[in-house]
């Protein structure tokens, strides 16, 4: 003890000093490392914020595809409550809530000049405030942590392009029967096709009474009538069938189709209205006995059977506005019935009695812009904006 008490030196102090310096350096290094980790985290958040904002644009396009705002209040719901479902797709651990504002905000408004964000329906265009042009501005903003991304783009809705040829009032792959006891002509022109296009009927077989159509309608028979592929091709039938399946307008029984509920533009009045595709068993008959569609909103009814063993039957006095297609044959009416548009049958068409086919070019042309499929980005309108 005595010897220890006499010890002298500065080694301990020196070592403590060096260790302290090392500790400070080490701690600073840890701080820097953490700082870079934080920066990396912020980078990831920024990238995720932008990606989610693009996802929000996609979600907005999906919502507008399902419900294009043709009138005030008729557009899709993008309120906070509606966006909760969108938020639920992103875990809070990986996609934290923002410090301020909402996680996601989607808004849409018309592309008027100048822009009026209160006009949230397709009221006009950039050149005419009262002429809808199927275009809307879509803006999405997403916030995460301290980061935010805001994207603006113009979107445009596209339509199913029917490609149905103009001027064909009737096509039949078999014979056309029409000896209706003095009721001819039964095939008329209600609205003519564009100038230069001749209205015609195409009959692969024979026409039992040439007076069946008006004098201004050309009758093409035999090989000159062509095939059903010229008028209502398989690709169109397949496309319409796929579209009907997508939107709940495909049926396997006549009763299911007849009793189907309204479905927006796809079937404004339910039943056989709008787009209706029925694939039926052999020997099935489908009778039309109400008014379906209108000149402003025409429809397409397809009655399909692989064996061409089905019948489209005209019932009591009513009207069908649009295009009727059947793999089978068309039966004579059980009362007066008028088709405003076009009739296509892969087999015989029997319009004996008091039914009429009135070619209506407005109906045929409107079928090309009848059903919107989806909305897409208008090129050269995408911008990343400063978040608000």
């Amino acid at each position: 003890m005595r010897r220890l008490a006499h010890q002298q030196g500065s080694g301990l102090i020196l070592i403590i000093g060096v260790v302290a310096a090392l500790a400070i350096l080490g701690a600073t290094l840890v701080v820097f490392t953490n700082n870079y980790q934080h920066n990396t985290y912020q980078d990831r958040i920024r990238a995720k914020t932008f990606n989610v904002a693009e996802a929000a644009i996609d979600a907005g396009m999906g919502a507008l595809s399902a419900k294009w705002p043709t009138a005030a209040g008729a557009g899709p719901d993008v309120s906070t409550a509606a966006l909760t479902a969108f938020r639920s797709q992103f875990t809070p651990e990986e996609n934290p809530d923002p410090v301020v504002s909402a996680f996601v905000n989607i808004e849409y408004y018309d592309n008027l000049t100048p822009i009026d964000k209160t006009i949230t329906w397709d009221k006009g265009s950039s050149t005419d405030p009262n002429a809808p042009d199927d275009r809307m501005w879509l803006v999405a903003q997403v916030g995460m942590g301290t980061k935010a991304a805001r994207i603006q783009t113009l979107v445009e809705r596209t339509y199913f392009e029917s490609g149905i040829p103009r001027g064909v009032a009737l096509y039949t792959g078999g014979n056309l029967l029409s000896n209706g006891g003095g009721n001819n002509p039964k095939i008329h022109i209600e609205v003519p096709p564009p100038v230069g296009t001749q209205t015609c009927i195409k009959v692969v077989g024979t026409i039992d009474d040439p007076t069946v159509s008006g004098a201004d309608i050309v009758q093409l028979t035999g090989a000159t009538a062509g095939t059903v592929e010229d008028v209502f091709p398989a690709a169109l039938r397949a496309g319409l069938t796929a579209l009907a399946k997508t939107h709940g307008r495909y049926f396997t029984s006549v009763s299911a189709a007849e009793n189907s509920p309204p479905n927006g533009t796809w079937s404004p009045a339910g039943g056989f209205s709008g787009l209706c595709v029925i694939e039926v068993p052999n020997g099935t008959s489908c009778r039309l006995q109400s008014v379906y569609n209108s000149e402003a909103e025409p429809g397409i009814l397809m009655l399909l059977n692989k064996n061409a063993d089905c019948v489209l039957d005209f019932g009591s006095g009513s009207d069908y506005w649009g295009v009727l297609y059947t793999d089978g044959w068309v039966d004579k009416g059980h009362g007066s019935y008028e088709v405003h548009g076009m009739v296509v049958s892969a087999s015989t068409v029997d319009i004996r009695g008091t039914c009429d086919v009135s070619y209506n070019d407005k109906v045929i042309s409107r079928l090309s812009a009848r059903w919107s499929l989806n909305v897409h980005l208008v090129p050269n309108t995408w911008r990343e904006l400063r978040p608000e």
Binding site: L25, F32, W382, R383
Partner: protein, 244 residues
């Protein structure tokens, strides 16, 4: 001296204990080793610290620069009043494009996009230039060719309109790596509708077919020392060429 005192003194000297020469030498050697270790550790840590800070900053700068280029390139858009593509020059060391990115009030569709250029110089710096006065030209910049001499390059950096350094220590063209990583590569749609890649695309009718731009930066995180590379790569898809 009294006999008693002398005897006492002799006895005390005999009782004194000390370190032998060997002990002192061993102590010195051990202390020397420890001191050397401490000093070496200190300098190593100091160097490591300095490197961490410098490389961290370099990495951060490179990442930010890359992110900025990606965001501006993907945002580029065509000026509808001019017969020109959204990307006006598509070369491997520089790109010139129209964009409204980060402009105040660019939510107004009528805002006309301005020219922005990113160019990599021989000194390893990527610079960003901008047509600030919106006169359709970036002043004091040769848009069509790369200034060969260091003097001309320096002049561009000094007087190019809206010029500022974006990233430093980019070593793509230092000749240290083979093959040379190209800074900008362009994917475009060819006549057959196939996606192709090219380092440079000439003529407007070809540039309108560009669909995305790949950016590949090789950054030296430890300049003036043994090189430590950060290899950063990203692709900017031109959003305004999309329709879905």
């Amino acid at each position: 001296m009294m006999p008693g005192i002398a005897a006492k003194k002799r006895g005390r000297l005999r009782r004194q204990e000390g370190l032998t020469l060997v002990e002192v030498l061993v102590s010195l050697i051990v202390l020397g080793i420890i001191t050397t270790m401490i000093i070496v550790a200190y300098f190593a840590l100091n160097r490591s610290y300095a490197y961490s800070v410098a490389s961290g900053k370099a990495r951060e700068e490179a990442r930010q620069g890359l992110a900025r280029m990606v965001r501006e390139i993907r945002d580029c858009e065509t000026r509808l009043d001019l017969p020109e593509a959204a990307i006006v020059r598509a070369r491997e060391r520089w790109i010139l494009l129209y964009t409204t990115f980060n402009e105040e009030g660019n939510s107004d569709p009528a805002m006309v996009p301005g020219l922005v250029m990113f160019r990599l110089y021989d000194n390893g710096q990527i610079w960003r230039f901008e047509d600030i006065d919106r006169n359709g030209d970036i002043a004091n910049i040769d848009e069509n060719s790369y200034p060969v001499s260091a003097v001309h390059q320096e002049a561009e950096r000094a007087s190019g309109e809206g010029g500022r350094s974006l990233v430093g220590h980019v070593v793509n063209y230092d000749g240290l790596i083979s093959p040379t990583p190209v800074l900008f590569r362009y994917s475009y749609i060819d006549d057959l509708g196939q996606i192709q890649m090219s380092n440079e695309i000439y003529y407007t009718q070809n540039r309108v077919r560009i669909r995305s731009v790949q950016i590949h930066m090789l950054v030296d995180l430890n300049p003036k020392h043994a090189p430590v590379y950060a290899d950063l790569m990203s692709t900017a898809q031109l959003r305004n060429q999309r329709s879905n």
